[in-house]
Symmetry: D2
Subunit: 398 residues, 4 copies
């Protein structure tokens, strides 16, 4: 236990040796550009002593006014409006793609060809076929590649991973997961932005939300061998963002699927933007021979665990664990004794991991999701839609 009640460990007790720098080129400056930039800015003083110092070399976006403002806001040194130019910038070693799904593949593949390490938002691509081109690109290269399945880097979920890998659940029987949001519902009045357009987004709740669950299912439980799915579009047209009439919605608002795992487990998942009252309700429960683990993204500092055999039965029950202490994954970087963290912190841990892999020549897997993981997730997403169409269970083939 801490000699000071956990409080003065906050001070850096020893001098940080000089950490190597990694030049970052950021593509996109909206929600994900903001979240990623925040991570680059916090890593040097919060993931301390730092394994690497990210240099905010450049930010790129199509709208020059916007990108200039973003440059000033986050402290990037340069800006570009053409990503090809940014890829020519020798100071950029890590290409970070935080754009919508239809601009994941091309710029990222070009970055790989240019020898940049790559970090790309999820879903990796609009389809498995497109994701495969990205995977093939990294296979031909030596760059580090990470797909932004950031929930792997939440302390509670990493703790779940560590417990499962240590055999604490034994054989796994079932995985059940939902990712429920409500902002697609009519009363929100969201227009037909790119997220509702298959050509730009690939899919709807599936690629946006179910992809997270699928990545966690594969990471925590194991490979998926078959699925059976259904999808629904509850609102089939929406006003165009430019105000010019209505546009067709051709993606899924809600998707459900059965899962068969190679290890014998089965499962269910649902992802939807039509769940009244649910803001960001991403939950899973994994039931195994020796115990069970539960998680809820809206309360991400907590996990619940149950152990079958180790406790007096009269007081057995799910443990409600506040994953907030220095002995929990990542938490020694933050605050003492139950001072909780937020959603943005997973992104910080995730990007820090990639920087560590880059400068220390470590593998991104198994802690981080690679483009192989991004591809496999895309294959499963496609299979769910195929099943919804063919009305058959669909075997997964990578």
């Amino acid at each position: 236990m801490s000699k000071s009640g956990g409080f003065t460990e906050m001070a850096g007790a020893k001098a940080a040796k000089e950490a190597p720098h990694v030049g970052v080129g950021m593509l996109g400056y909206a929600f994900m550009g903001k979240a990623h930039s925040n991570a680059y800015k916090k890593i040097p003083y919060m993931m301390y002593p730092p394994v690497a110092i990210p240099d905010l070399v450049a930010i790129c976006g199509r709208n020059e006014e916007g990108v200039i403002e973003a440059k000033k806001r986050y402290g990037y040194q340069k800006h570009y409006t053409d990503w090809h130019k940014m890829l020519e910038d020798k100071d950029v070693q890590l290409f970070d793609n935080g754009t919508p799904n239809d601009s994941h593949a091309e710029p990222t593949i070009e970055a790989i060809k240019a020898g940049k390490h790559v970090f790309c938002e999820k879903p990796l691509a609009r389809t498995a076929e497109e994701a495969r081109t990205m995977l093939e690109a990294v296979k031909k290269s030596k760059v580090k590649h990470q797909a932004a399945f950031n929930y792997r880097f939440l302390p509670a979920i990493r703790q779940a991973y560590d417990l499962i890998k240590a055999g604490k659940l034994g054989k796994i029987y079932t995985f059940r997961a939902v990712y429920l949001q409500e902002w697609g519902m009519p009363h929100y009045g969201v227009p037909r932005v790119w997220r509702y357009h298959k050509a730009e987004a690939g899919s709807g709740a599936l690629g946006d939300l179910a992809a997270h669950l699928i990545d966690l299912a594969r990471w925590l439980v194991g490979e998926i061998k078959a699925v059976s799915g259904l999808a629904r579009t509850f609102t089939t047209e929406r006003p165009m963002p430019n105000g010019k009439g209505m546009g067709k919605v051709d993606i899924d608002d809600d998707v459900v699927s059965l899962l068969e795992f190679e290890g014998g487990a089965i499962g269910t998942l649902e992802a939807t933007r039509f769940a009244a009252g649910r803001k960001n309700h991403g939950c899973f429960e994994i039931s195994g021979e020796k115990g069970a683990i539960k998680f809820n993204l809206e309360n991400l500092n907590e996990m619940e665990v149950f152990w079958v055999g180790e406790e007096p039965k009269e007081t057995q029950g799910f443990h409600k664990v506040l994953v907030s202490e220095g002995y929990h994954p990542f938490m020694s970087n933050w605050w003492p004794h139950g001072h909780i963290i937020g959603w943005e912190h997973a992104m910080i841990h995730e990007i820090n991991h990639l920087l560590d892999c880059i400068v220390n020549k470590k593998d991104v897997a198994p802690y981080g999701a690679t483009f192989e993981d991004g591809y496999r997730c895309a294959v499963i997403c496609d299979a769910i839609l195929e099943s919804a169409h063919s009305r058959k269970h669909v075997d997964i083939k990578y």
Copy 2:
């Protein structure tokens, strides 16, 4: 509001007029025999003033010693060891079948033929085919028939039903449900009792647990038009109860299914006896256009509701409702102000409903589940297993 703080309304304020009597013949005296007998004994003084007085005419079981003890315990007037004899008893007007699944159909059909009203435990039968014979029998008769889907009679679930029927959820988008128990897991050491034997039980978690969810799905959301299922038997043999070697387990330990509703909603369900830490975790969440409703059987005095449009958004959220007040369904029969009820009370409400239908010539539907409902549930159960086998989505045909 009550003039006395809700307390003295407990006293019957006016004399009960003499209620008609209904003679009951009970088949079975184990778990369900106990729960049903308890209901018959409490109705006269708790569902007050009573619509009918059940007379405990006879109880029947194969083990004479056991049935004689049960007769004394619960106060039945007579006992039988052959149900044919009990059906000949003129004093029996209501035949209550609380036996294992393989003795649902024959005695119940004979009771119907003998002109007895019938109350049969769920699942109605081992297969849809068998359930159909029971349905056909009641169609040819004038008796009242009720299948023991007792959760319809929990105050919170009846409240959910009333809200949905009043349109409070609007169009329904999704139904998600689980029924998780753990007593099938290896460490419980349960032998190969009838519940693990297809010839006696028909199915495993499916007919035992998923059947409840399917009945609620149909009742609350509407008719189901297709399913897609998976099933697993995690423990394939168990010691025979008679101590003579091992017996094969040929039913499902865990079953999952997708649901397509005629009204456009989709859903998932899981039922399992292998969910570590879950004692009797029967939950559903229904998401609709105007709101959502949640329920959990382990905390059955509560429901959660969310309304989309009626509240200031800064304090919107799921309402955690203690369904414990006199203005909630059934609760005025019980205790004032948050003094909660238990699982057994649903059975009391359910049997009281059937007695009311019998003496007042009311329809069992829509509040109670009829044999038509029991049959339809069986059709859906069969379709889930068929889908697990054929690996295709299966359309429901009644």
Copy 3:
């Protein structure tokens, strides 16, 4: 573990030997009369095999029409409108007093003098002085005496008691408790019934609700040596129940107190009928050197426990225990596997305990609350009001 999954243990496996009978005379037929009568009716077949069979000899109340109806409703053999007469009835061995607080002392003392065992609702009396007269009466007699602090007989609270007595919490540091209800608030419109009248009730939330917490504090943590209190009457007059004008409210609507225990622990309590949104929210948390225990009456089938030292720290947390299994106190009498019980069941367990003490010559203490406990609780209640008046900490002297 059960050989049958916990299900067929429901059948009485062996014949009950003939249990002795105890004749009951019940005074009062409102809320408590109903709850006690229900207990007498269920004990013979649910607390099985029974330790004693209560005979419903007689019920007594001032309103003859009401008491005759209650006799029929609950199946009492006789009725009285004068409790003196009932006490002359030789068939009555146990006198059960379920009346308002101002008729606790006199009839109960007369019953004791008549050699009847006594069960009296809480608070035992309106003041410590009055309670002392009841205690003195039982001290001069050989009758069994129990005060209806029924929450001692909830399975979760008995489990807490057993854990504490086994030393599982070690030295206790703090007891914090609230008992929150809302039905006194203006919008309920409750008139000035006896509960708002000091001459009849003695006190308000204090004797009605805080008394439960005080009894639990003494039972679970140990003797109280000093208190410091405050009290408020938020609604100082209410319409008289007879419709004739307004009546003064001279009891507390809300009371708070500090507690000092002899063992060194400290604590707080609050009892109120003015807590918006709280129906029957009786909660405590006990923090000790080795662990902690939490309980909430609105979810009475649960308890939460935390153990300091016995578990891997990364998954430490409060265990949410569903106190619903056969190995939990009292639960083997009821249903298998998470089929929960309600508020009324504590009363059944409590009265069964008293019957056991009567027929088997056992001590009511420590499991049941005796009149000594009822008196001590009254002393503490009086001290809290004295402190609110004197504005000093008040030492407890019995």
Copy 4:
């Protein structure tokens, strides 16, 4: 509602006009130094467009090696080992005191005399007398002064404040609050650091934890007119941090108090470092005539509210509100749709408020806590200890 589902509002839509700069001099670099520095670094790009840009002018601490490292870590321009020197630095406009309690008064008063705006950690001082000297200093000056009662700046608590000020609770009846931590318990093995030493800390759980509750009580409910307290030191000696023997603990490990508010409400509070299983459990519930509000610091993105009169009673219940949306206080600065924030964010909002007050000449009150608030809190803390000693209720006199 957002036209883009809430996502692209993340991009700064309009260029920030050049914000004024405020030079910061930070005293202390441990837990609070880290949390404050993090706030200064995040404000320019997250509280966007910024009202002011904090310049990290200097950091000061007694240990030169440590303070140099902190300078590099957080990006301060200069370092000092003598705070007098830092106060002479003309570039410092805001003096931020994040040191232990015994170095709050003197440096802060000197800073005020030097014309610096001041931000001081809580409790403002070790005693009311000491706090009064600080209050008197600001009264003689024109500097802005804020005491770091950061929980006022949690979105859920600000939301609670706004609701109460808008009259949504009506007349308030009760305030009940606890602040429970466990790290003082023996098994943590914390030595006799300054927090256990009255000369350095002033008090224990009282000034550290109860002070937060007292500030919130005053802010949310209103002025306190009397208290009655108890305090306990469960561990009376601890090993000295320097390894030289044992040191006496002369502060409170656990403190409880009754509260009387001028507006008629009453309340209880407890603060302890001996609550097994509680990491940072700071909770309050406020019950009023028209509703109630609940909050828990371990789940700080949530609040619960209950409204007495505005909803159909059959679905009334506490609303579980995820305070995570753009329409909630402060949240539009962060992430869309349920992407939650952490503990550190309150500090960011709080310091941003002070910067806004400095550059825009606004009053720190009522949203921020001034030194007047810090002083009044200290008076109440002292009164609680006085009551614990005198065993009388103590009237508050400022």
